[in-house]
Every structure is written in structure tokens, then in C-alpha cells.
Symmetry: C2
Subunit: 311 residues, 2 copies
Amino acid sequence: VIPLGKIAIVGTGAIGGYYGGLLAHHGHDVHFLLRSEYEAVRKNGLRIIDKEKPFHLPQVNAYNKPENIGPCDLVIVSLKSTMNDQLLTLLPPLLREDTLILTLQNGLGADEFLGKHFGPRRVLGGLCFVCLTRTAPGVVDHFAGGRIDLGEFAGKPQPRTQAIVDAFNKSGIESTLAQNLGDARWKKLCWNIPFNGLSIAAGGVDCAVIMASPVLKKLARDLMNEIQAAARRLGHEIPDNYLDHQFVRTSKMGQYRPSSLVDFQEGRAVEVEPIWGEPCRRGQQAGEPMPRLEMLYELLASLDSENQKSK
Amino acid sequence: VIPLGKIAIVGTGAIGGYYGGLLAHHGHDVHFLLRSEYEAVRKNGLRIIDKEKPFHLPQVNAYNKPENIGPCDLVIVSLKSTMNDQLLTLLPPLLREDTLILTLQNGLGADEFLGKHFGPRRVLGGLCFVCLTRTAPGVVDHFAGGRIDLGEFAGKPQPRTQAIVDAFNKSGIESTLAQNLGDARWKKLCWNIPFNGLSIAAGGVDCAVIMASPVLKKLARDLMNEIQAAARRLGHEIPDNYLDHQFVRTSKMGQYRPSSLVDFQEGRAVEVEPIWGEPCRRGQQAGEPMPRLEMLYELLASLDSENQKSK
């Protein structure tokens, strides 16, 4: 194990529970910040359900206040980005001057938000290529994948970036260094925008339904083409075969429900702005019209708002 | 009353019940073909609920087989267009060589279908600008509007076209002569495509919700602009102020649920092909990309298919 020092996981849902759990399982000093699941996790620990490598941590360091954790070396942010305003009060007790902040949140905007409030040079971003569902408090079902592409917000990779990647790889987390975090984020959007979006907008359908529908597959590809064109205008080159590969990858996911669909169906706010709104605005500002993404964004904003009302 | 001879109403839902009811109420010889509501209407007649001019026809000529009606002078088609295949067996018993067929169906394709199977020169089309909901068997709630724009499928208006328009006007049906049925159909689509479509795709919202949402209103206008551009390429000029007017008109409809939303929410097939599919194909064949309409069509096709599956 390569030491990462004292680690805080802010937001112990599917992503935080899984990656934080793996780090703790491999001997790292991990401290989990929780809210609604605090009691359950304090009592029963964390359980990762997996066909090949399931594990149970009967006891974890669980907290319901960041003050009780105190300053850390690495803060991993895995809160739903719809709650990012809360980071303004949750993070300060966890930070020293040299504390690194790694956000594992999807879409665009979290790096800038963290950079603005806590200083850009301590911010890192990680893109998680993983299929997880939190099935009960403290219980995360791992379906597929797990890789994290990890990069610096404010520039090129540094020795510290490589050190985290190495430590992750030694802890059961396949991890690669992203030379450019923007590239990595736009690539990730090529999956999240169509698959998370269409799973909601097409009526609550899983990946298997999308992949079985020529109409929805075509629409997913049309959306990817818009993202690719916008990314290109913003200096992020995404090759065609990367888009092709998303369909190969998705065909292996079976009846996986993207996390946004799970949020929607369970009545939680969907991450509409980082995944659809912000990419749409940035692409259009760069001169790419993106009519399909714009429409998907508009429909999801409305669907999410109606869904929240009926809660 | 200007005589229209023997009239058959094929499909006595909201549209057929309302307009056929008005014609019968004003003394015309109207024969209603029904299926699921046959028994109810035979017993209780037709009831039109309306703030200003409600009426009840305690006894109407109700049939469950077209053979029992026999040949007519005018056949009004108000079946859901998703069931148009049934017209191949329902219409022949109602037709003489000179019987006129007037379809009140929305969207594109019904004229051509009827023309192909029964001869184009007897086909007329009527666009209904009306807000109706069938609230119980034989009961139709009239919210607003009522005008029919009526034209010939195979050419310019004829004396017979004007005669029907005049007869309708004398029977409480505001009616105008459409010089070009294609123009009228594309104009009608400027409302049906966005409002019927978004009411479903944005999560089951009525017109008041769409009008209260700047995002959905903008999307409705973007869709109208695509329709206007496609219509222009196909020789149908729709002025900008016609598009503006649709929002004025809709703002008066209150919480009206477009008929497609009612169909969707009650588990019936939505008229996806005539309202979204066929206009999309014709516009794209004429060189207009229509990305938003295409996407709306694709989403509605999927939503409708999932909805039918879960029935």
C-alpha cells in the first residue's frame, strides 16, 4: 500500500461507499462522512456486493459531522453535485492548506466550483467508469467496471497525481492518469449525456432497452456526435472509435439503470446542470448549436422539476 | 339547415361525438358507428358538456356494424389514426360511388391512405381547432374552440366543399374553406407537434404547465420554427405571426390536456406516425434537418412503445 494519509469521503453513496470501501479494505485510513445513512453504517459497516470480489467492512470510521473528522490529507468528494452548495460548510473542517480535494462527480462545473471556493491548485478530478447501485443503507451493488481516470484541474499531472493513481491501483481501483482533465470529462460525457439522459427521457428504460432500440441507439449516437463536435471546438479531441466503443461497452452492461435514472425513479434530484446544462452552454458558447443536447437538457429540466414537485 | 344527406360518423370518440352530435342536434341524418361504447350510447345517447351550449341527445342512431348503416352521402372519419387499417373493412359498406369521405384526423398521411384505397377525388380533410375530452362513454367535455378548416385532398375547393362548409356553419360548427389542405395541415401541426408532444415528453404536463415554463415555451417555439422551415420547402407558407398566435391561443386553454396526452395517460396508442413521424420524414426528404422534431419523434415512439408494453 502506498500511503495516502488521512482520507475523508464526503458523501457515502454508491460511489463514495464503493471507492472509499475499497481504500479502507486495502488498509488506508478512511473516514466516511454520512447523513441519512450514518446510523446504519455506524452499526453495520459497508457491504460491497460483487460476483467476483465482494467484501464486507463490519466496522468503518463513520461520522455525521465533518468537525469530528478534522483536517485530512485527501478529501474525496462523492456527494451528488446537486448538493454542492453544502460543500461550503462541509469541507472547511476537513482542510489544511495542503489538503488535496478529489471530486469524483460527473459532468462539468464541480472542478471550477471547488477551485473557486478552496483554491484551484488543490483540486483534482476523477472520472469513474463503473456501474454501481446503492441497494440499501451501506450496501452497494457493483455490476461492472471500476476504472478512474484521474487528473489535475489546474494543469498537467504532477508527481502527486501519479502517486494517487499508483496508490489506487494498489488498492483494487484500476486507475489511469488523465493528461488533461477536460478531455477526460468530455469523453465521459459521451456516455453520460445519452445514456443517463435517454434512460429518463424515453420513459424510464435501462441500458438493455436502449441498446435493443434502433431508434434510441441512433439518437444516442446523434447526441454523441454533437458532444464530439462541441468538445473539438473547446480543444478536446474525441476520436470516432471512442464513440463506437461506448456501444460495445454498454452492450455488456445488460439491464443496468444509469445512476440518474435511479435518482429520478427514487424521487431524488437529477444532476441536470453538470451533465446536460453546463456542457450545452459551453458547447453553444463555443459556436456549436447542439440542438439535440439542448432539447434533452430542456426536457430533463422539466421532467426533474415535475418529479420533484410530485415528491 | 343545408342538407348533407345521410351521414356516417366512423369512430365516435371526442371528435366524432362532438361534431356528429352537433350535426344530429341541428337536424341532420347522422349515424354513429361505435365499438366499445356502443351499448352505452345506444342506451343513453350522447351528451356534450359545455359552459355555454351544452346539449343532450337522449337517442341517437347507434350501430356496431357498418353493414347496418349502409351506403351514405358523407362519411366522417374520426377514428384514432392508429387504427386506420380497420377502415379497409369499416368503410366499404358505407360507400357508394359518389360518397364523400371527410377525415377529421390529425397530422399527415390519412388523406393519402384514404385516397389510395377509396379514390383520391372523394377525399376531404378537416382540421379541428377544438379542445375536447371524452370523459365517459358517450360524454364529451367541450373546453374551447370548435372551428374546422375544411379542404379537398385532390385539388382546389369545389362547390361541394363550400356546401359542406355552409352546412357546418348552419349547424353550430364554425367552418372555413381551406384553399389548400396541405397548408392547413402544416399549420395545424405547428400546434400539435409541440403541445401534444411536449405534454407527453416533458412528463405528463398540461398546457398551463408548458405555458408557465420558459424552457418548454422556448422548446415549443424552436419546434415550430423547424416545422415552418420544412413547410416552406414543401410549398406551404406559414407566417411568423401564425406561430406567435399559437401561444396566445394556448394561454387561453388553461389546464387543457392535449388529446395525445389523454391517450397516453389512459394507456391508448398515441398517433406518433401522423403527427411526428410523417412530418419529420417529409421535411427531411425536402432537405430540412429538423433535429428537434426528429428527436421528439424518437422519444415519443419509445415512450409510446414502453407505455403499450406496460399496459
